[in-house]
Amino acid sequence: MPTFVYMTRCDGCGHCVDICPSDIMHIDTTYRRAYNIEPNFCWECYSCVKACPQNAIDVRGYADFAPLGHSVRVLREEEKGTISWKLKFRDGREKNFVSPIRTTPWGSIKSPSDYEAPTEDALRTQELAHEPEALNIDRLPTLTPDSLNQGAV
């Protein structure tokens, strides 16, 4: 397909429609549930799978080269800060993986305008926001080229 939606689980909430980077998860007007309208523009990025509150979306590998019988399932838990994967091979073997996704609370990033306002002079320098401190070195490196060479080096 690649992504597809289970009829009995989807409640038509539209989270997948809202997140899909390829604009291919749409709501079917008859069934009021989501489906993949353009499978050959699906990257199998799993954005919709991760976003689905009902775990209604799954992936069946591209028919061109993926034999049936496999599954790659995911559970993304923002409050726990983890993502869990369960792989099932065509022959039934399984593998499981868990990784962290974030070390700080969601929503905790400061706006750049929460920092002290830079001076007009600073706007005319080469330093970007939070530099040089955020570089963890004394000063921003620069070049003083003494010659402009051309040709192979």
Partner: protein, 614 residues
């Protein structure tokens, strides 16, 4: 009638308009706010910035980090590395600029909550290779998007920008952009004092290996629709190195990345008979490119070349030798999590085909070509360099400003700066964002104004495919075949076939010549004419129609550049069969193009490559 009357037009005024909310666009948005506290900073994105751009599904490594705080690398080292990989041709001023700033971006990512892997002994970031550090980056994009949302006056999701608008008094000055909301169909007119193009590079301009469902499993995201190039090209911005397309050696069918395998897991490649093959081709590569073959690390294109020759010699498939490494449970975990973090489709392929790299050495493939400016090649707009050291000829205004006044770029958009990757693209966005604020600050009362007739004419053009479909659909009973319109998918498949067969795609073993390119341009001309007859059944197809328009204009540019450079600079990326060898006498230079939209003509010229680092 009908379609145009009653369509809502939304006017948005801004100081800095950022087009595209991927890594570069988020960087530009963040930095614009930091320096322009009172400015209206608007970010517009055709999808949802929470998961948009090339990093939508996450990354398992940050491929551009100097580690200056530990003395690991200096910016000069990175310039030498990128220059070597690109066979001598990079904008050293721009590359140095990204490299000197990139560490501060990465340190902010960590502060914002991106989980970095650390070396247990040193406490430093875990290196995958000399430039790469390893991360648990499933939420890399949502984290960066959170920073951009906090910074923006407003983010417009699901609005696709189709054209830039120019100032009504100064024809070479940008004044805004137009587009449409892919959900509501509202027409959007953005007025801006400065515009930062941070849109995506080009996937799906060459026919991919898989043309069924799998045509979406391209290496670069299928939503990277060349807007990075088409937007500036159309308004006459000069482009550079557009012939410098990239071909990736990746795991077969899923295009799972090999970097961690080579660098961290220390696996290597072999032919079908378990033999090393790269040394076999040493002499023949030397004959084509001379001493470049002896450079370390061996330029990526030359390793591709050896792969291709070995397959043509009938000793494929080429495989990654994983069996030993994967016996180590830590390495096995890294190998799988590497895919799950950034190319889940590869894990799906292996699960479906019972490929466990502990037991089977997986096949590799060389991809179809892509055109982009952020990964290991450097196609994009010709941009002004940093004020403190860029050579005079590379400096005509503000940092990262194109040859159009007030038009800035970052990420895939800016040419000459290879090996930026995610962190470098975000950083280049920051550079462009600060420069744009400075430009706006300097404008004073001399502000650009859009011309009403220009955006009204464009409104007709943008929505025409809906009209074409509505009219033409009545002529036929049912189905997709009409004598009056082409659907976007029809046009895309024609484009991919032309580029594949005439401009050096997979079915031509990446080979072309002047007669092929000339014929390719004739066919592209006819395709461009046919684009006036695109039909779109709904707003989704209207988005596809405009993505196709962008891909076609970028492809035309690629073809002109490929025709202009009369040498084979990057064997393994593409071959000019009529100019087989690298030619440093005549072609150690950049290629530049400029499109004139009135005449439809392209002007080509050379620009010097200045080496400012030894």
């Amino acid at each position: 009638m009908g379609l145009f009357t009653g369509r809502k037009t939304v006017f948005v005024e801004s100081d800095v308009l950022v087009i595209g909310g991927g890594m570069a666009g988020c960087g530009a948005t963040y930095e614009s706010r930091y320096w322009g506290r009172d400015l209206k900073v608007v970010c517009v994105e055709k999808a949802n910035i929470e998961r948009s751009g090339a990093v939508a599904q996450g990354l398992y490594a940050i491929n551009c980090y100097m580690g200056m705080q530990w003395g690991e690398n200096q910016p000069e080292d990175h310039v030498r590395y990128a220059r070597n990989d690109l066979m001598g041709l990079v904008r050293e001023d721009l590359g140095y600029d990204v490299a000197r700033h990139v560490d501060s971006s990465v340190h902010k990512f960590e502060e914002w909550g991106l989980p970095m892997m650390k070396d247990k002994e040193t406490g430093r970031y875990q290196r995958e290779g000399k430039w790469q550090i390893m991360i648990h980056g499933e939420s890399y994009k949502p984290i960066v998007a959170e920073a951009a949302r906090k910074a923006a006056t407003k983010v417009y999701n699901r609005v696709m920008v189709t054209h830039l608008l120019m100032d009504k008094t100064r024809p070479n000055r940008v004044a805004g952009a137009v587009g449409f909301n892919v959900r509501s169909g509202d027409f959007y007119v953005f007025q801006a004092k400065a515009v930062v193009v941070a849109a995506g590079g080009a996937s799906n301009i060459f026919k991919p290996h898989s043309v069924g469902e799998g045509m979406g499993r391209t290496w670069y995201a299928p939503w990277s629709s060349a807007s990075a190039y088409a937007l500036p090209i159309r308004v006459g911005a000069k482009m550079t190195q557009m012939e410098n397309r990239i071909v990736l050696t990746r795991f077969k069918d899923g295009y799972g990345p090999v970097g961690a395998y080579f660098l961290h897991l220390k696996t290597n490649t072999e032919n079908a008979y378990g033999e090393d093959y790269e040394s076999t081709w040493y002499d023949s590569i030397k004959e084509l490119v001379g001493d470049y073959v002896d450079h370390q690390p061996v330029p990526t294109c030359l390793r591709n070349h050896a792969f291709l020759q070995e397959v043509k010699a009938g000793r494929g498939p080429i495989r990654m030798h994983t069996k030993e490494a994967f016996k180590d449970p830590h390495k096995e975990q890294v190998g799988w999590e590497n895919f799950l973090g950034m190319t889940i489709g590869q894990a799906v392929v292996w699960a479906s085909q019972n490929i466990d790299p502990k037991e089977i050495n997986p096949e590799l493939v060389m991809s179809e070509p892509y055109v982009m400016g952020s990964h290991a090649t450097c196609s994009g707009a010709w941009a002004s360099g940093p004020e403190d050291y860029a050579p005079d000829e590379y400096q005509w205004g503000y940092n990262r400003m194109m040859t159009v006044e007030g038009l800035f770029g970052a990420g895939d958009t800016i040419g000459g700066t290879a090996h930026k990757f995610s962190s470098g693209s975000f950083t280049e966005g920051r550079i462009a964002g600060k420069a744009a604020v400075r430009y706006v600050d300097d404008l004073g009362n001399d502000q650009p104004r859009v011309r009403e007739s220009e955006y009204e004419d464009l409104m007709q053009v943008i929505f025409q495919p809906l009209e074409n479909y509505a009219v033409g659909r009545n002529e036929i009973v049912s189905g997709t075949v009409s004598p009056s319109y082409l659907l976007p998918m029809h046009g895309l498949q024609r484009l991919e076939k032309i580029m594949d067969e005439y401009v050096g795609g997979i079915s031509a073993h990446y080979t072309t010549n002047e007669p092929l390119l000339t014929r390719g341009l004739e066919l592209l001309d006819m395709l461009k004419e046919d684009l006036d007859h695109l039909g779109a059944e709904d707003l989704h197809q209207l988005q596809r129609a405009w993505e196709l328009q962008h891909r076609v204009l970028a492809s035309e540019c690629v073809t002109h550049h490929t025709n202009f450079r009369k040498e084979t600079r990057w064997p393994g990326y593409y071959y000019r069969a009529d100019h087989r060898k690298l030619d440093d006498t005549d072609w150690h230079c950049f290629t530049l193009s400029q499109y004139d939209r009135e005449s439809g003509k392209w002007a080509m010229e050379k620009a010097p490559v200045y080496h400012i680092i030894d």
